[in-house]
């Protein structure tokens, strides 16, 4: 069932996504759509571990930020192409995630969540207050800019229009979804769901929860890192608050939870729903009302937790399943009605 939904929804969506730059020429709109894809990508990366293992990390922005910094610094200091820089940044984030995860995955519920916040905040505060670390110019709260190379350069990850950026993030999003699908069908996926369902029960079946959670976290951190690096390239600017503040972590978590944790499409669905709302509010009345879109996010989160604890993907799924079965069940219902009618 789940896979039919992925194909049924994902297929047309992908075709649509591929075609968008053909008829959307306004670069602002294309940029906005790319941002939706970016958040879908980030939420999907968060979901890779948190959605499946059932823990709420609000420290993932640290992975994005760290990888972004690595990419930008490698480019500005050593001239390394951001393509390689991205991978290096992702790898760095994955490395960082191992000790963090080793420490935090022993904790549960709010203890886990607040510890992830603490880790991310330590990193952010340190970065905001460090202009120079071992000769590396971090420039504190001011952040780093990526100098333009002038014109389009594939190697420098700099393009004139928005179209290349759009296709890059689209490819990344498809990639993270494919990775999630692979993971779901692998031992890792089964183990993560088992840990989420009943940790003691999983342990008794040979699952070392720390080991498998850490594996998933490292992959998730790597993916999140790639996203952070992309973001830095898109804006050619990175600073601790925007790229590793708690708001980014909250966005990833909320979109996933509203869309549907532990599913392939859920995070993207959440981003498709929430980010445009946020953007529209910001573009129209948000200017005069700072934070209005976050109020809406908060309300959506509350409503989702109360009414759709498994995400809006569930009613959607039911709708699609229902339509498929409608004719069959209508016949069955007619039959029972007839039978009951006879009995009376």
């Amino acid at each position: 069932m789940r896979h039919t939904l992925t194909l049924l929804l994902g297929g047309p969506l992908l075709v649509l996504a591929l075609a968008i730059p053909l008829f959307v020429t306004d670069s602002y709109i294309l940029h906005s759509i790319a941002m939706v894809l970016f958040f879908a990508y980030m939420a999907s990366s968060w979901n890779f571990v948190c959605g499946y293992v059932g823990q709420l990390s609000l420290g993932h922005s640290a992975f994005a930020g760290v990888a972004g910094y690595v990419t930008v610094l490698l480019f500005t200091q050593l001239g390394v192409t951001p393509w390689l820089g991205m991978l290096a940044g992702g790898a760095f984030a994955a490395l960082l995630s191992v000790p963090v995860g080793y420490a935090t995955f022993r904790l549960k519920g709010p203890y886990f969540t607040l510890t992830t916040i603490a880790f991310a905040e330590i990193l952010r505060i340190w970065l905001e207050n460090t202009d120079d670390f071992l000769g590396i110019p971090l420039k504190g709260a001011q952040g780093l800019t990526v100098p333009p190379v002038g014109g389009s350069s594939f190697l420098a990850f700099q393009f004139d229009g928005k179209v290349p950026y759009y296709y890059i993030i689209l490819a990344m999003l498809v990639g993270v979804m494919a990775a999630t699908a692979l993971m779901e069908r692998s031992r890792l996926g089964f183990y993560l769901k088992a840990i989420r369902g009943d940790r003691d029960g999983a342990e008794a079946l040979g699952v070392d929860p720390t080991r498998y959670s850490l594996t998933a976290l490292a992959i998730s951190a790597f993916l999140t890192g790639l996203g952070g690096a992309y973001y830095a390239q898109l804006f050619r600017y990175i600073n601790p608050e925007r790229n590793m503040g708690i708001d980014l972590s909250i966005d990833m978590a909320i979109m996933t939870i509203v869309g549907g944790q532990g599913t392939i499409l859920g995070p993207t669905l959440g981003a498709l729903l929430l980010h445009p709302i946020g953007e529209m509010v910001r573009a129209t009345i948000g200017g005069s009302f700072l934070g209005l879109h976050l109020i809406l996010y908060g309300l959506m989160l509350i409503l989702a937790v109360i009414y759709f604890p498994k995400g809006i993907i569930v009613p959607l799924q039911r709708l699609l399943d229902g339509r498929a079965r409608k004719s069959a069940s209508r016949k069955a219902a007619a039959k029972t009605d007839a039978l009951e009618g006879k009995g009376q």
């Binding site: 059932g54 823990q55 709420l56 420490a103 022993r106 904790l107 549960k108 519920g109 709010p110 203890y111 969540t113 607040l114 510890t115 916040i117 603490a118 880790f119 905040e121 330590i122 505060i125 340190w126 905001e128 207050n129 708690i246 909250i250 939870i257 009302f289 700072l290 934070g291 209005l292 976050l294 109020i295 996010y297 908060g298 309300l299 959506m300 989160l301 509350i302 937790v305 109360i306 604890p309």
Partner: protein, 294 residues
């Protein structure tokens, strides 16, 4: 560092630590009774601070007088947040759909809403209340003690004692304790658990109403000040053993002294890093808290 600076730092740490403990009381109480970590805890404190500020800025009310308004206001806010936002979760849980992070998510939603409503209303600017007491000190053994902080400290002790007493001796208090021990048994013995939860949540927030007003004379406010207070409160209750009222005060004192002494050695930002570091260290080494049974 000489002895005088050190003892000054310790005294200051004890004063602010007592206030931390008082702020954390509600978090501990709510967790003890409802097993819910209120992510929006700090946001409610921030809300109380803005209330007090608003009353001062518009009506010229002294923050200490505004307590008369902030405490009931926060009680009502807490009562309704629990009754409207959180209680559906408990109703569902009774049907055995237990999602441990749900309550955290819900209150995280409340945090976003409250923080950003205040941001929308007041903007991101730093605000402060200028009243005489901010600068008044008394001298004990040659050491200056800031009066506003001393009052906050004493209030924390008094509130903790009063809360303990009330929980032991009042009818509602007994109902709250019974519910904390066993929700189903309490419900069977005729206690209205929903109401107990509403009152508990309201009470936990009302305490914040008090400390919000006591903090504004010497603490400048911004809409995002809540989260750091919330995290500190969580650290305090973890230090003192979650659910314990004296533990909360003790945990607060410990954190206050730690922060205050640490900031004598390092810069203020590094001190913030240190308290997060302390938080991580405590959780990793003794997840049940220093006073809690491991």
């Amino acid at each position: 560092m000489d002895l005088l600076t050190l003892s000054f730092a310790v005294i200051n740490g004890l004063l602010i630590g007592g206030i931390y403990g008082g702020v954390a009381l509600g978090l501990s109480l709510i967790f003890g009774v409802m097993r819910v970590i209120n992510f929006a805890h700090g946001s409610f404190l921030m809300l109380a601070m803005y209330c007090s500020y608003l009353l001062w800025a518009s009506l010229g009310l002294h923050p200490y007088v505004s307590i008369l308004a902030t405490v009931p206001f926060l009680f009502i806010v807490g009562y309704f947040v629990q009754g409207v936002v959180i209680s559906p979760l408990f109703k569902r849980e009774r049907a055995l759909v237990v999602e441990p992070t749900s309550a955290l998510l819900l209150t995280a939603g409340v945090y976003l809403v409250v923080d950003n409503i205040v941001l929308m209303a007041f903007g991101p600017d730093v605000r402060s209340v200028a009243v005489d007491i901010t600068y008044e000190s008394i001298f004990v053994a040659g050491l200056p003690i800031n009066l506003a902080r001393l009052i906050g400290f004493l209030a924390a002790i008094v509130v903790a004692a009063a809360l303990s007493f009330w929980l032991k001796h009042s009818e509602m208090g007994r109902a709250i304790r019974a519910t904390a021990q066993n929700r189903d048994a309490a419900s069977l013995s005729g206690i209205n658990v929903q109401r107990v939860y509403n009152v508990t949540f309201g009470l936990g927030c009302a305490v914040l109403g008090l400390f919000g007003a006591l903090l504004v004379p010497f603490f400048s406010i911004t809409p995002n000040i809540g989260l750091s207070f919330g995290i500190k409160s969580f650290l305090v209750v973890v230090l003192g053993g979650i659910g314990s009222i004296p533990g909360s005060i003790l945990g607060g004192l410990l954190l206050g002294v730690f922060e205050s002494v640490a900031s004598q050695f390092v810069t203020a930002t590094s001190a913030a890093i240190f308290s997060f570091g302390l938080f991580i260290a405590i959780l990793l080494l003794r997840p049940a808290g220093l006073m809690g049974r491991a």
